[in-house]
């Protein structure tokens, strides 16, 4: 059933930009996610194979930080390898990125769910979780997907770290400056399609969205909805 972003208390920081594109929304995690950006899913899926920009802000994400983070995760039955700046896929479809020895970032899958994050948040409290503390990534950061074969070339216009696919393997993480904003870039391919997840300052979401649109123009990149990415992930 079609919904509008303002039907929900929780809203993406770029919902107005998406509305202006004629996006179609559906509920994900108690807010409206653009499942298409005004075109047929097939067309947007093709778009996403060349260069698609997708607002993932509605998806589940969170994190933990503190000197006992690794131990606590282990106690809760979540194993994350020691190497920082890598993302580790989980059986529930979540991706856990280790940002440093004392910090992880947890991203849910494209359905919007993350069983691991739910479980960890339910288990955590000040006493039990001494030495690790939740990072409110869902609100600190906006989250965008950049997909398709030109995605690496597009990032070269925004970022001084070499993110081209031949140099930046799947599941690598770069914490760097993107269009002069601090951000996290995670390469997380969708099936065969090159794909990056970008998290950055939610208060600068409109600015970053504009930068992405501008940088993508030269490659005929365009916004796509969540359904296009889900299609790519299916294969």
């Amino acid at each position: 059933m079609a919904v509008a972003p303002t039907d929900f208390r929780r809203r993406s920081p770029v919902y107005r930009e998406l509305e202006a594109l004629g996006a179609e929304f559906a509920e994900v995690n108690g807010s409206a996610a653009a499942i298409s950006c005004g075109r047929e899913v097939a067309a947007e899926t093709e778009q996403a194979r060349t260069l698609g920009l997708c607002d993932l802000s509605a998806l589940r994400r969170g994190g933990f930080k503190g000197w006992r983070t690794s131990e606590w995760l282990r106690e809760e039955g979540v194993e994350v390898d020691d190497e920082s700046n890598r993302a580790y896929p989980q059986t529930d479809g979540s991706l856990i990125a280790r940002l440093s020895p004392g910090e992880v970032l947890i991203l849910g899958d494209l359905s919007g769910a993350s069983a691991i994050l739910e479980k960890l948040m339910a288990a955590w409290n000040m006493a039990a979780g001494e030495g690790t503390y939740p990072v409110p990534r869902a609100d600190t950061n906006c989250c965008f997907g950049v997909t398709g074969r030109f995605a690496g070339a597009m990032f070269a216009k925004l970022c001084g770290v070499d993110l081209r696919p031949e140099k930046f393997a799947n599941r690598l993480v770069a914490q760097t400056s993107i269009a002069r904003l601090n951000g996290i870039v995670i390469r997380a391919d969708l099936g065969e399609t090159l794909s990056y997840t970008l998290l950055t300052d939610s208060a600068s979401a409109s600015y970053m969205w504009g930068c992405l649109i501008d940088a993508a123009d030269e490659f005929a990149g365009a916004p796509v909805g969540l359904d296009a990415l889900r299609k790519l992930a299916e294969r």
Partner: protein, 971 residues
């Protein structure tokens, strides 16, 4: 017709004869071909004068045909100071000449040339500075005459952007050396980017003549380019200019409207060399050009450079030029060879065979101007008697073209920027660069190699060396067989001063031999001083053709050996760069709160606050004061809401959280009760007030702290820095962007909140002032801080930023019946001023101590440590220098001071006004100011110096101005 001087095909590598293009120059239409530049197209029509010189307004035409000089600066469309030799014609392009008075053909300012002796070197500094009051007049006159292009202020903004590039190796220069270097390095496995400023690869292979037979260069070019193109790990970037070398092999490349920021591990510099002029009288006339310029016209554009030529040369290459001219149908009147005993080569033999007169040990003493002093009409040739001197007796040869080959100067900017040292090699009569870092390798004529076989071999070796330097397994060193020195030019002194002058060393600045010598005679001996005094090398061509003769003249002028010749520092950008490349699309992040669009919808005037946009006030600018007044009164009488999402937010958590807070802030936090908030003030190491905010303790191990809008990042950074040293069990998370925060304030705020809050008892008894709660507002999870910056009953509501807009909407819906209104920063400033609350960095500065700001109440004196404590203690033990006080005007009728007006006592400055405004609540002007400590008692008068030095009096008032007992915030 594309011009009477156009040669038949296939000459013209860069033009497309199938695609005619029309453009206009000085209002006249010209036919050209696609690929033509403005200069080549005009040359094809016999148009020789393209611009006027900077100082004497002498007519100027093609010199290098490579865009290396400033002789052909034109205005092309909106682009001023464009190089006609580089601007490719497009349909309808309007091109205008620059720097003339009247017309290009008859420039009245050219009379200045006759006044040359009254315009000596350094004339700006000497002639016009006394009497001093006349300088502005002279300056205007000089600027009008000397300015180059005129910028059209209506120029539409272009789209310029930037891109990062990453390669193992850059090869700069797509000539024979660069091509072979790129190939060798690529074969060793390097990812190479090959950069060339021209539209096609090949460099000198495209126009120069190696050996006697035509066609050898073209074959070599075809072979090398085909190999390069077949090599998958070479990226070719043509029409791209490498503007400089920066540390760790970082290169700005310019192509079109984009600036590329390239990072590599190493570089091969094969940038080639600049051909040099021969210095003789009138060597700047249109029709006098480099031999390579004539060759470029013929080979690249299919344009015959003249009808009858004199070739003057200091090297064997001049003979190649003469052969090319002959083959293009130009009559060669003679070849003048400066060398006393030039070796016989296949090229000299070929010319002798074609009966071209060859005059050795001779020079052009003077070029003869044609009618109206314009194009060259002949050359006066003289025997060389000794170095730099020739007989006064001359033979005249009529000609409309003088092609000069005066030697070469390496394009070594990248090499010296990379740390190489340029030294003059008197044996080869050329500058060479040594002491290069291992990762930067030079090859080809920039390295002093000119023979084609040697250059190609050297390129290969350079590619191999560079590949090795960046850690690749490069295999065996390529073999070098060719004679590197073979026909290298080595003539030391192609400078022939003429008693009549106009023997130009620097064409950009119209500097003659005597100008350089005079600068030295006046004591500006050091090459860098000589440059600045004479302006030599400071024009658009940046000394490409003047550094070498200037260095030679400098050495001789100082009586030094030529070994000691030196050149000035070669900085970036190496060539012309547009402001757009530097300024275009600079990323400027803007932070907006979750409620941003609601502010806009309510007519907010947004202002920049640190990295954020915030509402200054709501309503039309025309009624600004009234808008703010209404907002203030509505808070005092009803209820208002301000968006304070921009405040910094930090979670301080862990068993040592209380200890950490106690160290970072001046107040006492160990015993702060859970559920209570407390003021925080941070001092820096010097004891200066650095930031403030509020902390709420939600758990014994959890403090939530706010910081000022502009201080948030620095506070976070500072906290992490200290704990990297202290190693306390505490964790700090910056949650600034994750919270939207609204401050709802005013006597009716509780009633509004009560409508949307079900799980917190808001009653005065259950929820007193300074308490904090966690609960839900409009079903949104919220932290509630009952604090009172504006001095009314009020609550700060912190919610997840994703739900901030919904919170705003809910409050306005609930508050409608109570007359709820938003208020902006200006209203908040007035409200807190009425309460005497300070704003850090407005009412404090980089030196303000807690004592001066009257903030010692916020310092816990008993605790062992806080950041800056020892400094605060030291200052506290010293007499106070100034004190922040509240004041009103002694006479309301006098003009009100502004913020930052000085408080004075006689001649002495004692402080400044930090905040001032007309209080809508009190109906009078109130402010905060620093005064001397002995002026700080309520009732005392002090002086404020306002505009135009006028003095008004302020009267000290006890703070706060409004509600001194704080009854209203405790409602």
């Amino acid at each position: 017709m594309s011009g009477a001087y156009r040669l038949p095909g296939p000459a013209g590598l860069l033009i497309d004869r199938e695609t005619p293009v029309d453009f206009r120059f000085e209002g006249v239409r010209y036919a050209a071909f696609a690929g033509d530049t403005v200069a080549s197209a005009l040359a094809a029509h016999g148009v020789r004068t393209l611009s006027r010189s900077f100082k004497y307004h002498r007519p100027r035409g093609i010199l290098s045909m490579a865009g290396h000089d400033a002789n052909t600066l034109v205005t092309a469309g909106y682009m001023v100071n464009a190089r006609a030799e580089k601007v490719v014609v497009s349909a309808g392009l309007e091109v205008r000449a620059q720097n003339y008075v009247g017309s290009l053909e008859r420039d009245w300012a050219a009379l200045l040339g006759r006044l040359g002796r009254f315009l000596p070197v350094g004339f700006y500094y000497k002639a016009f500075y006394s009497p001093k009051f006349l300088w502005p007049y002279w300056e205007r006159l000089i600027r009008n005459l000397a300015g180059l292009g005129r910028v059209d202020l209506e120029t539409p903004q272009g789209y310029f952007d930037k891109e990062y590039l990453f390669h193992d190796l850059i090869v700069v220069g797509g000539g024979p050396a660069g091509l072979s270097a790129a190939l060798r390095a690529a074969k060793a496995g390097a990812e190479v980017v090959l950069v060339d400023e021209n539209p096609v690869l090949g460099g000198s292979l495209n126009y120069a003549r190696f050996g006697a037979e035509e066609g050898r260069a073209a074959k070599m070019r075809e072979k090398l380019v085909a190999e390069v193109e077949a090599q998958a790990n070479i990226r070719v970037m043509t029409s791209t200019f490498c503007q400089g070398w920066f540390i760790d092999n970082w290169f700005p490349l310019v192509r079109g409207n984009r600036l590329y920021k390239l990072r590599t591990k190493g570089a091969v510099v094969a940038t080639g060399s600049y051909e040099q002029a021969i210095v003789f009288r009138n060597n700047d006339l249109p029709g006098v050009m480099f031999g390579s310029a004539a060759q470029r016209l013929i080979k690249l554009y299919g344009v015959k450079p003249g009808e009858r030529a004199v070739v003057a040369t200091a090297a064997d290459d001049g003979y190649g030029v003469a052969l090319d001219l002959l083959e293009a149908g130009v009559e060669v009147a003679c070849v003048v060879d400066l060398r006393a005993d030039p070796p016989e080569t296949e090229r000299t033999r070929a010319l002798t065979h074609r009966h071209v007169p060859i005059l050795v040990n001779a020079t052009i003493r003077e070029a003869v101007p044609g009618p109206q002093g314009k194009n060259v009409s002949g050359a006066r040739i003289a025997k060389i008697t000794e170095e730099g001197r020739s007989t006064a007796e001359t033979d005249r040869f009529n000609c409309d073209l003088i092609a000069m080959v005066g030697g070469y100067h390496p394009q070594m900017s990248l090499l010296t920027q990379a740390g190489g040292r340029a030294r003059y090699d008197p044996e080869g009569a050329i500058f060479r660069v040594d002491d290069l870092p291992e990762s930067v390798v030079a090859a080809g004529s920039v390295n002093g190699s000119f023979a084609l076989d040697a250059v190609i071999e050297e390129g290969s070796v350079a590619g191999w060396k560079a590949a090795k330097a960046i850690g690749l397994e490069a295999g065996r060193k390529p073999i070098e067989k060719a004679d590197r020195k073979a026909p290298a030019p080595d003539y030391p002194w192609p400078i022939f001063p003429h008693p009549g002058g106009k023997d130009f060393v620097d064409f950009d600045e119209d500097l003659e031999v005597k100008d350089v010598l005079n600068a030295i005679a006046e004591g500006y001996e050091h090459i860098e001083l000589q440059k600045r005094f004479s302006t030599l090398g400071m024009g658009p061509s940046q000394g490409r053709h003047s550094h070498l003769p200037a260095a030679r003249l400098n050495a001789r002028g100082r009586g030094a050996l030529l070994d000691e010749a030196a050149i000035t520092t070669l900085r970036w950008p190496i060539s012309q760069i547009k402001i757009g490349h530097l300024a275009g699309r600079i990323f400027e992040p803007v932070r907006t709160t979750a409620i941003h669009h609601r502010h806009i919808e309510r007519g907010a005037k947004m202002m920049v606050a640190g990295p954020w946009l915030r509402p200054e006030y709501y309503g039309p600018p025309a009624t600004r004061t009234e808008n703010i007044r209404k907002e203030v009164l509505n808070v005092r009488n009803n209820v208002g809401v301000i968006d304070v999402s921009t405040l910094g937010g930090l979670e301080v958590q862990g068993p040592d959280a209380a200890e950490f807070m106690n160290r970072m802030y001046t107040f006492a936090y160990l015993k702060q009760p859970i559920g209570r908030s407390r003021y925080v003030m941070m001092t820096d190491l010097g004891g200066v007030v650095a930031d403030d905010g509020v902390t709420a303790r939600f758990h014994k191990d959890h403090y939530y702290v706010t910081a000022t809008t502009s201080g948030a990042d620095a506070v976070y950074q500072t906290m992490l820095w200290y704990n990297a040293q202290w190693r306390l069990k505490v964790n700090v998370i910056n949650v600034t962007a994750s919270h939207a925060a609204l401050n709802i304030a005013g006597p009716k705020s509780r009633e509004v909140l009560a409508k949307v809050c079900g799980d917190i008892d808001l009653s005065k008894e259950a929820y007193p002032y300074m308490d904090v709660r966690e609960g839900h507002i409009a079903d949104i999870p919220a932290r509630l801080l009952r604090i009172g910056f504006v001095g009314e009953l009020g609550y700060e509501i912190h919610v997840p930023s994703g739900e901030g807009e919904a919170l705003w909407d809910a409050l306005f819906e609930a508050g409608a019946e109570f007359g709820i209104m938003p208020f902006g920063i200006e209203a908040q400033r007035l409200l807190r001023l009425e309460k005497g609350h300070i704003i850090i960095s407005q009412d404090t500065d980089g030196l303000t101590t807690p004592q001066e700001a009257d903030m010692t109440w916020a310092i816990a004196k008993k605790k062992p440590f806080y950041v800056g404590r020892q400094s605060v203690d030291i200052q506290a033990a010293k007499p106070l220098k100034r004190k922040l006080i509240g004041f009103e005007l002694a006479n309301e009728k006098e003009p009100a001071p502004l913020e930052c007006h000085l408080t004075v006592r006689g001649e002495e400055i004692v402080g400044r006004v930090t905040s001032i405004g007309h209080s809508p609540t009190l109906g009078k002007t109130i402010g905060l100011a620093y005064v001397a400590p002995d002026q700080a008692e309520p009732g005392q008068l002090f002086e404020i110096k306002i505009e135009k030095g006028r003095i008004v009096k302020g009267r000290v008032v006890k703070l706060p101005f409004y509600d001194p007992d704080g009854a209203r915030q405790e409602l």
